[in-house]
Symmetry: C2
Subunit: 206 residues, 2 copies
């Protein structure tokens, strides 16, 4: 039992170390030696858990997707609008991208040209934004003059842009930056009657 | 003279081939053999022009920057607003990103983790958007309720997002997608009096 716990912990450490090295060097240049050395385990131990660098990257991406799902599965506070939930989750995602190297690297791995294209984190994020905006529209939370698909395109493009820019400069993932985005977008998206209740800075204290 | 012309042409072919291979494989995995073979020249000829893969990537990025400068240097049509120029240039950039592999790869090379961070194409684009929106503000083309910095953040994030998403799916760089973005943003950005003259689909036929 103790041995099993240690194996689980070693595996977690390896995933985190892999995310750090992939995130710093990129997938193609990252070496398994650098990863095992950062994790403080032998290369034999690394190969016991992961058969190849590609397998390790797949696991980092899967673990990052699980964390993204945990972010997007957040329940809205009672009575909160879908638009406010979208604002809150965008803030939460930016915060997690700043602080969680596994989540951050999961996004960059998905767009690395040296790995095969697959349904990655961006695609999941796009799907979630779309579904949430469909709900907002069904609840009369979008201005009638606005096409929901225009909002989906703009929100997905802008948030993926913040994620990409944030790789090199975390300022793009700050709460101030996310608030700037929503300060401009909310009046374009939500009817005037709802605007007073919507907060571009989000409603969840962290 | 003929010999010199041939050398210039070979160099151009090598840059284009390098952009294609970097764009498909990523910098770290791209091989000089694949590049010279795609260009139809010997590896000796490649080494005559470029001393290393890093030097070749630097030249691709510099050539892409020159092309981006050609896009952003476009003069506005007489009487056109700065906001309309921004819309038009965004459309032009998306079009060029779809059709010009050197420009497209110049953007992705700048965000590849396996290369050192430097002032790349995104940074130039950000600076140009900022300057153009400052001019728009000075000419009363932004709504007074709107902070120019909110517009800069949103436009830069959204356009960089389209560029990044467009690497894997060119639909994100279509004129329809860019128009969706501006259809939502223009009423948030420009005063009501100017809106009738602004065209989200751009004013330049291609």
């Amino acid at each position: 039992m103790v041995k099993q716990e240690r194996a689980v912990r070693t595996r977690e450490t390896l995933i985190r170390s892999a995310a750090e090295v992939f995130g710093r060097e990129g997938f193609a240049r990252a070496s398994l030696t650098a990863i095992s050395s950062l994790a403080g385990v032998s290369s034999g131990a690394l190969h016991f858990h992961f058969e190849s660098k590609a397998a390790l990257a797949d696991v980092v991406e899967a673990e990052a997707l699980a964390r993204l799902l945990a972010v997007t599965r957040t329940e809205p506070p009672a009575g909160a609008s879908h638009v406010q939930l979208l604002v809150d989750i965008t803030h939460r995602l930016a915060y997690e991208l700043r602080s969680d190297v596994v989540l951050r690297t999961g996004f960059t791995l998905g767009s690395e040209l040296s790995r095969p294209a697959r349904t990655g984190l961006r695609e999941h994020w796009r799907g979630w934004v779309e579904k949430e905006l469909e709900r907002a529209e069904a609840h009369g939370e979008l201005r009638t003059e606005v096409a929901a698909q225009d909002v989906v395109t703009t929100v997905v493009a802008a948030t993926v842009g913040l994620e990409g820019l944030g790789v090199r400069d975390a300022m793009w993932l700050s709460a101030a930056t996310v608030s700037r985005l929503w300060r401009l977008l909310l009046p374009a998206v939500a009817p005037a009657a709802l605007l007073a209740d919507l907060q571009a800075g989000g409603t969840r204290p962290r």
